[in-house]
């Protein structure tokens, strides 16, 4: 079990709130909590790298397209194990060069700072401002000394414009730019619970919601010490949630949560699925993208809507595939779903992802629902078992072929919960097309789901999706998935209180809006405190 049932009494956690009005960094404020997760640094993801460059130098094109992709942990690419490997260091080196050339042309320092006695002062004023914004914090005395030495060294061997380029390249490839810190003020003792610096809080909040560094308002709030209270952080979170950047971030969360980031490369046997083609893939992807965007933009990021909507956004091809009315001219638009479908789970993109090359897969669909929507763990099959899915057969149904699992006692334990869910999706084939027969035999799409309040019997994926859209188990799971995504790590004992608050906030509105869970996350004192490292 990932959730550890150890609970720290709330009274112990919430130490007396500090009323200190000190400027940040001067004088120590006592921590608000007695325990906290470990201090750390987080490497920017590719998207975060691009967004960071574009924040420092508006108009900067995307440069991370050629970077090695992040691997995923618990299904998410935003985790805190990301490193700068040899390969990535080379790729960043190149990207930083291109970023520097672009920035140099934008900044036009050579025009603003003509050669003369004031050249260095004028130049470093501009360059240091770039560095400070790139580092997402004011420069320290040490920073200034290093940067000045770097500038002077570069200028020694290069003309001014080349030296500007070298300096900017250094900034855009530096560790201070590539990692955001959650360390607290320098000089905290080892193994202490400490507040993160106001600038670290601003970054953590901003990256969690927008995948980008703090904007001017957040930085101003950090400087003024106005991110200390939960309400102050909530105000900024609500403000940012309304931006397109936040919608993009949440759309990315939904894609990784539901495991549908590989849609572009989906491959199916089109001898079995004649409808499958490159054009189908494009249409299906566009449908899911448009649907998610709609839920985020117009439905407040409601998970109830995401899972239970009775409509989708289909072009002519997808409308025909679903057997529903099309938009008048066949371009993508809102269309009603037939009764056997509901929400994103019954979209072709999801159903085809959780299927095999040439058939559906009750096991994959069952595992998907259990692990991603209900946050349950499925242990890997025991090593004694030979794992061979039954071969497609012309005289049988997928359900009949897969049912053998439950007969083997070594497999039955897990498959008792996996299979009845997957079997309930058998009214959709491996591409997600609705079917009532398979190989001439009537399809049996009856299934059941064990949930915390009992058993839910159902027939067909649509019925299950509608149940899940209002399920308390799903409402408890989604905040956990969002926590893993935003915090970039697995939950731990110390997160119990925070997770409980996220769940309460998420469930307060029956529409189950993702933004409420995120706001609750950044309100928490556990979001702003870390246990310092002990060397």
């Amino acid at each position: 079990m990932r959730i550890i049932r150890f609970c720290i009494p709330a009274a112990l956690l919430l130490a007396a709130a500090s009323c200190s009005s000190d400027k940040p960094g001067t004088g120590k404020e006592p921590p608000e909590v007695s325990e906290a997760s470990s201090a750390r640094v987080r490497r920017l993801t590719r998207v975060e790298y691009d967004n960071s460059l574009a924040t420092v130098v508006p108009g900067m094109p995307s440069l991370s397209g050629t970077f090695a992709p992040e691997d995923t942990i618990l299904g998410f690419s935003t985790h805190d194990r990301l490193q700068v490997t040899s390969l990535l260091a080379d790729q960043v080196d190149n990207a930083a060069l291109n970023a520097a050339l672009f920035a140099k042309n934008q900044l036009k320092i050579h025009e603003k700072c003509p050669s003369g006695a004031d050249e260095e002062q004028c130049t470093t004023d501009i360059l240091f401002d770039v560095a400070s914004r790139a580092f997402r914090r004011p420069l320290t005395t040490e920073d200034r000394a290093d940067l000045l030495a770097f500038w002077q060294d570069a200028r020694k061997t290069a003309d001014p414009q080349t030296a500007h380029r070298i300096f900017l390249q250094g900034i855009f490839a530096s560790a201070s730019f590539l990692y955001r810190t959650e360390l607290g003020e320098q000089g905290e003792g080892a193994n202490q619970v400490a507040r993160m610096t106001p600038y670290e809080v601003a970054s953590a909040l901003s990256f969690a919601i927008t995948a980008a560094p703090p904007d001017a308002e957040l930085l101003a709030a950090a400087e003024a010490g106005e991110l200390k209270t939960a309400d102050q952080r909530e105000a900024h979170a609500r403000r940012l949630l309304a931006t397109p950047a936040a919608q993009k971030r949440l759309a990315h969360f939904i894609r990784e949560w539901l495991g549908i980031t590989g849609l572009a490369n989906l491959n199916k046997n089109n001898q079995v699925f004649p409808a499958f083609s490159a054009a189908f893939k494009d249409s299906s992807q566009a449908e899911t993208r448009a649907f998610i965007d709609h839920v985020l933009a117009n439905e407040g990021g409601s998970v109830k809507e995401l899972l239970g909507a009775n409509y989708t956004f289909a072009d002519g091809r997808m409308s025909q595939f679903y057997g529903t009315t099309s938009t008048p001219n066949g371009t993508i638009g809102k269309v009603p779903l037939p009764a056997d479908r509901a929400g994103i789970l019954t979209q072709a993109s999801v159903l085809a992802t959780y299927a095999l090359f040439d058939s559906s897969s009750p096991i994959r669909r069952g595992k998907f629902v259990l692990t991603r929507l209900l946050c349950r763990e499925i242990p890997p099959p025991p090593a004694t078992v030979v794992i061979i899915p039954p071969a497609p057969a012309a005289d049988s149904t997928t359900r009949a072929r897969f049912a053998a699992h439950t007969n083997n006692p070594a497999c039955a334990g897990c498959h008792r919960s996996l299979d009845p869910i997957g079997f309930g999706f058998e009214n959709f084939d491996g591409l997600g097309k609705s079917r009532t027969t398979e190989n001439g035999i009537a399809v049996d799409a009856s299934g059941s789901l064990e949930h915390s309040n009992g058993t839910f019997p159902f027939t067909g994926g649509g019925e299950l999706a509608r149940f899940l859209s209002t399920s308390d188990d799903v409402a408890n799971c989604v905040p956990l998935q969002l926590f893993r995504y935003a915090m970039g790590r697995e939950e731990d004992t110390v997160d119990e209180q925070l997770l409980s608050e996220m769940r309460t906030a998420f469930k307060a509105n029956p529409r189950l809006q993702l933004g409420d869970a995120l706001v609750s996350l950044v309100r928490s004192p556990y979001f702003t405190h870390r246990r310092t490292l002990s060397p």
Binding site: E70, D71, L74, S77, V84, L533
Partner: protein, 481 residues
């Protein structure tokens, strides 16, 4: 070449594995002494999926000794390697023993343990090893003099990202080492930053000075952050600093001075930047139909990188879910590998024939790399003579999906470290460790851990270890020398 031959003869004379280890060490020392003349030894690991049909994978014996074998028979999966027979060492009966005795077997275990010899650790929710892979260890040990300690390539990756099935290279803390899937990007990395030839020496000096001031700043900045960290967080910045040191080491080679490598300069033709790989868009890199040409381009990059002595270590994963270019439109995993035990004809023959075709295609790719390396002259031999290729697989007998008797081929001249041109049995032919196995975590009697092969290869490169990966399995693999 003479020296190698004499050593090979010496090894032959001494025979027996008991004598092999100390002798190898002795020769290792003389190697170091003779480094000014000897071409460097290289390592390539190739990983392909889906297992095999052992009866069609293993060579057929044609005589009394282990050198008497052929790959030319009906349904031979290794047939494309027949022309390179004298530079092959086919090892039968090697097992991913650690997967059985320490937890998890199956598809996920093999890529994790192939080069690490580690058990699979699932604590993170992901399947990861607990120690570094052989390419990383070798890269750190012997790559210090080259531009790149190692290269990690992937011929084709459907989903773009890294996951448990496509990654074979790991850092010491068990993180995946990212791979490159775009040959054009590999080319750019290898050759792209070289200054125009015959640049003005004063200008070249300036370029170097500028790179140095940049690297100086980056190192200072990363060091300062590192010094605030401890434990795993500190490790991240240590890895970052190592990567910066890699870049810094390459600054010198920007100069017009000849590469200070102590090796004979390979033919300029083989090393020259030559033809630039085409720029595939991200979409085409994910297009399965491109897999064969991408594979060849990657193999060419390995050859060039070796010819230029840019690196001495490379890994490549080649994994095709289906192979439309040879009329395998089925899913190789579900429709072929899983169904090799079908008993009804003609289906059985159809499926098994296609499996032979699929595995033969992978053998062709290995043969292609060998041919390319053999075209690079080095002293009196070729780059192939001085390379150890380790070709490993995800599974053993595909129909059982087992991680025992995993198809393993050593290829290349191995710089004389191993006695090539043979087909050997790591354990008695016909023995089956699974018959006496009590289940996960219990001993796998009679199995031969592939860790021993990793030890042997590490020792061949002068890395003085007696275990690799899991500490349970000690010593090198008998019979290689």
């Amino acid at each position: 070449m003479l020296r190698q031959l004499s050593r090979r003869n010496l090894l032959k004379l001494l025979g027996g594995s008991a004598a092999a280890l100390p002798l190898a060490n002795l020769l290792g020392t003389s190697d170091a002494h003779a480094q000014t003349t000897a071409p460097p030894l290289r390592f390539v690991a190739i990983f392909t999926p889906h297992g095999c049909l052992p009866e069609f994978w293993n060579p057929q014996s044609t005589g009394a000794t282990d050198a008497d074998f052929t790959l030319d028979f009906a349904n031979s999966m290794l047939l494309p390697l027949q022309p390179h027979k004298s530079k092959l060492l086919v090892v039968d009966g090697l097992d991913y023993r650690v997967l059985y005795e320490h937890g998890l077997t199956g598809h996920e275990g093999a890529p994790v343990t192939f080069l690490t010899g580690s058990k699979v650790n699932t604590a993170s929710g992901d399947d990861l090893p607990e120690s570094a892979s052989l390419d990383q260890v070798l890269g750190n040990a012997i790559g210090g003099g080259t531009k790149f300690r190692s290269l990690q390539l992937n011929a084709w990756e459907q989903f773009g990202g890294q996951h448990v099935y496509n990654s074979i290279s790991f850092t010491a803390n068990g993180s995946r080492v990212p791979f490159e899937r775009d040959p054009a990007a590999v080319y750019q990395r290898l050759f792209g930053n070289a200054p125009p030839p015959a640049a003005d020496p004063a200008e070249a000096d300036k370029l170097i000075a500028r790179r140095k001031s940049l690297l100086g700043f980056l190192t200072k900045d990363a060091t300062r952050l590192r010094d605030r960290l401890a434990g795993e967080e500190r490790q991240k910045l240590e890895a970052h600093l190592e990567a910066l040191a890699d870049i810094e080491r390459r600054i010198g080679s920007l100069s017009t001075a000849p590469n200070p490598a102590p090796t004979p300069v390979p033919s300029t033709e083989a090393c020259s930047a030559g033809v630039v790989p085409p720029q595939y868009g991200l979409g085409e890199l994910g297009n399965l139909a491109r897999l064969p040409e991408l594979t060849k381009l990657h193999m060419d990059m390995i050859t060039r990188a070796f010819a230029c002595d840019f690196t001495r270590v490379a890994t490549i994963t080649i994994s095709a879910p289906s192979m439309p270019w040879i009329q395998i439109n089925e899913d190789v995993h579900n429709d072929l590998a899983h169904r090799l035990d079908v008993t009804t004809e003609p289906l059985r023959t159809q499926i098994r024939t296609k499996m032979v075709t699929a595995q033969r295609w992978y053998a062709e790719q290995v043969a292609y790399l060998m041919t390319q390396l053999a075209s690079v002259q080095e002293g009196s031999g070729t780059a192939l003579d001085n390379t150890i290729i380790l070709w490993g697989n995800e599974l053993g007998d595909a129909s059982g999906h087992m991680n025992v008797r995993v198809p393993t081929v050593l290829a290349g001249g191995a710089g004389g470290r191993f006695r090539m041109g043979r087909f050997i049995h790591a354990r008695p032919a016909g023995s089956n460790p699974l018959s006496g196995w009590g289940g996960p975590g219990s001993p796998l009697p009679g199995a031969v851990a592939h860790n021993k092969l990793l030890v042997s290869i590490a020792q061949a490169f002068g890395v003085n270890v007696n275990t690799f990966g899991h500490p349970d399995y000690t010593g090198p693999l008998a019979g290689l020398t």
